[in-house]
């Protein structure tokens, strides 16, 4: 079990590291997708089947498409090679600051939250129990998430909508 965890962690972190260092944007994006998939593998290792499949479905299926479309639609010019100048002190400092800040917040949160390490392994939670928990005690949170997503959807529709007068004559 531990060996599998080490393997998954190596693949996950390795692909993430290579994705950051690659100069080819599309390769980086595809490696990032691979990293997301390996996070799904980690969830599977941890016994969270539902979360694992949802992770694959959402990140590998949907978010990857947004990333790739955004990349292709926004990049000007021919090449996909990203020209990056030599590293300056300022750039290195700001990167360290941003990365260190996120790491600090995360480590603080992890250390601050109580962990029941001593308890024995809990029984695997079925999807049905998960659904009942979501629909029962956590229904309010689910509704809020639903409202936020609906707002985002309406916003996207408004952004994409074209005034009907401007639309060219559609061939019937």
């Amino acid at each position: 079990m531990t060996l599998a965890l080490i393997l998954i962690a190596c693949v996950m972190l390795g692909s993430a590291a290579v994705a950051v260092t690659l100069r080819n944007l599309i390769h980086s994006a595809l490696l990032l997708v691979f990293t997301w998939a390996s996070i799904g593998a980690f969830y599977l290792w941890a016994g969270a089947q539902f979360i694992a499949f949802a992770q694959i479905l959402i990140y590998v299926g949907a978010v990857s498409m947004i990333v790739l479309f955004a990349m292709l639609l926004t990049r000007q010019g021919q090449g996909t090679e990203l020209p990056i100048g030599s590293a300056s002190i300022m750039r290195a400092l700001s990167a360290l600051l941003a990365g260190g800040g996120v790491a600090g917040v995360l480590i603080g949160a992890i250390l601050g939250s109580p962990l029941d390490v001593a308890t024995s392994a809990p029984a695997a939670i079925s999807v049905k129990q998960l659904g009942e928990q979501l629909m029962g005690p956590h229904a309010a949170a689910l509704l809020v998430v639903g409202i936020i997503l609906t707002v985002a959807l309406i916003g996207a529709v408004l952004l994409a909508a074209v005034d009907p007068k401007e639309q060219p004559e559609d061939i019937t």
């Binding site: 599309i26 949802a54 590998v60 299926g61 990857s64 999807v127």
Partner: protein
């Protein structure tokens, strides 16, 4: 896999007992590995052969539908006079694809160009793992099997993007974008048509969904989901979305041989090209299997007196029937334009699928209605799907027909 129940008929138990007998020959430590390897080999063999014979059936049936003979010349290598109605055609095709020159464009991204067909085939095979082929025949019993099925299919979109982009051909890239637009548009109605089944059966496990469709109404009518108003509507939406997801006619714009020279596959040749088609057929077969599992009662027999036929044969017969239906559609319908295709998805199928979701909710809330109320329940449920169908359908075709042709008389 579930344990064998001794009371079941011999044919029902035979595949599992055969597997257990083979596994017993191996040492204790290796048995789990052999157990899974046998399952994988059987799935690969059965569906590989099924793919081969689907292609020949498709070519022959399409030939008949278009008033020609279809391939009938291929024989066996050493028997000159034995032709077998050209049934060995798929194997000749395989040899042809394998021996063809593999051309990779000089500017192509070699690695991604190679990876795309590999990814698409391997992920299209993953879906077969969770389909219940028979009463005891399910390769992997997962709690979240339906979710797994769709997660496994998620990578096809990535593969199409990889194929289009790695070719370094602007037409390939544009065609890949078109294909992605189609796949993403139809993913939504596909998923939304599946959700009612999950609501009503309140499980994501494919085997439990099939078991929920067991039993007989009045002692002889099957209780498949397709025989309920929400189930029929869901099944029809599922069928159309499945057609579009697998790039089948009338939604085969991504390939469109005559206009786009196979779209994102323009720069592929030889075996890699064949792999994409293999993946397409695997995806079609897996989606048909899922449709059978969710709506057509899975491996259940249609009538009680036909239950002596083993469950896996019922699954096979339903699968063949669905594939034949899809071939028939391909021979009948015309290809849509891309704007018609996306309009159909977003303005017609998504709203209908959402209404059908509410319909399933109504159905589950009224399970305890009985007697005359039962008739009311059916009536309301049918009205909930038929009325929006006509209203949305009329709005969709408003001002778009009937078409008049300037140079042709009907």
């Amino acid at each position: 896999m579930s344990a064998v129940v001794a009371s079941e008929s011999f044919l029902e138990r035979a595949p599992l007992q055969l597997r257990d007998a083979v596994v017993a020959y191996f040492p204790e430590a290796l048995q789990w590995l052999v157990h899974h390897l046998i399952t994988i080999t059987v799935i690969l063999t059965v569906f590989g052969l099924f793919f081969a014979f689907t292609t020949i059936a498709e070519r022959k049936l399409l030939g008949r539908l278009q008033n020609r003979l279809g391939p009938n010349r291929t024989g066996l290598p050493f028997f000159k006079n034995l032709r077998l109605f050209g049934l060995t055609q798929p194997f000749a095709d395989a040899v042809k694809a394998l021996t063809k020159e593999d051309i990779v464009p000089a500017n192509a991204d070699k690695l991604l160009h190679f990876l795309a067909p590999v990814v698409v085939v391997s992920f299209s095979l993953l879906g077969f793992a969770v389909l219940p082929y028979g009463r005891n025949l399910i390769p992997v019993e997962l709690d979240a099997a339906v979710l797994y099925f769709f997660a496994a299919g998620a990578a096809t979109e990535l593969a199409i993007f990889m194929a289009g982009w790695a070719s370094r051909n602007k037409y390939s890239l544009l065609a890949a974008m078109r294909a992605l637009a189609q796949l993403i548009s139809y993913e939504l109605p596909l998923l939304l048509s599946v959700v009612p089944v999950i609501i009503v059966t309140s499980t994501l496990s494919t085997q439990d969904i099939v078991l929920a469709q067991g039993g007989w109404l009045f002692g002889f009518l099957p209780q498949w989901h397709v025989f309920t108003p929400w189930g029929l509507a869901g099944f029809l939406i599922f069928l159309v979305a499945a057609l579009a997801e697998t790039n089948r006619s009338p939604f085969d714009l991504p390939e469109a041989e005559s206009e786009l020279i196979a779209g994102h596959l323009t720069e592929y040749s030889g075996f890699k090209y064949a792999l994409f088609f293999m993946a397409e057929y695997f995806g079609l077969t897996a989606l048909c299997g899922l449709g059978i599992t969710l709506f057509l009662g899975g491996w259940q027999a249609p009538f009680p007196f036909l239950e002596f036929i083993p469950s896996y044969l019922w699954f096979g017969m339903k699968l063949v029937a669905m594939i034949m239906f899809f071939i028939w559609l391909r021979g009948t319908l015309l290809r849509l334009r891309i704007d018609q295709l996306t309009r159909l998805a977003w303005q017609f199928m998504v709203p209908l699928a959402l209404i059908n979701l509410g319909n399933a909710g109504f159905w589950i809330l009224t399970t305890d209605w009985s007697g005359p109320m039962q008739i009311l329940r059916w009536g309301v449920s049918i009205a909930l799907i038929v009325v929006p169908f006509f209203f949305i359908g009329r709005r969709l075709s408003l001002g778009r027909g009937p078409r008049t042709y300037s140079y042709a008389t009907s």
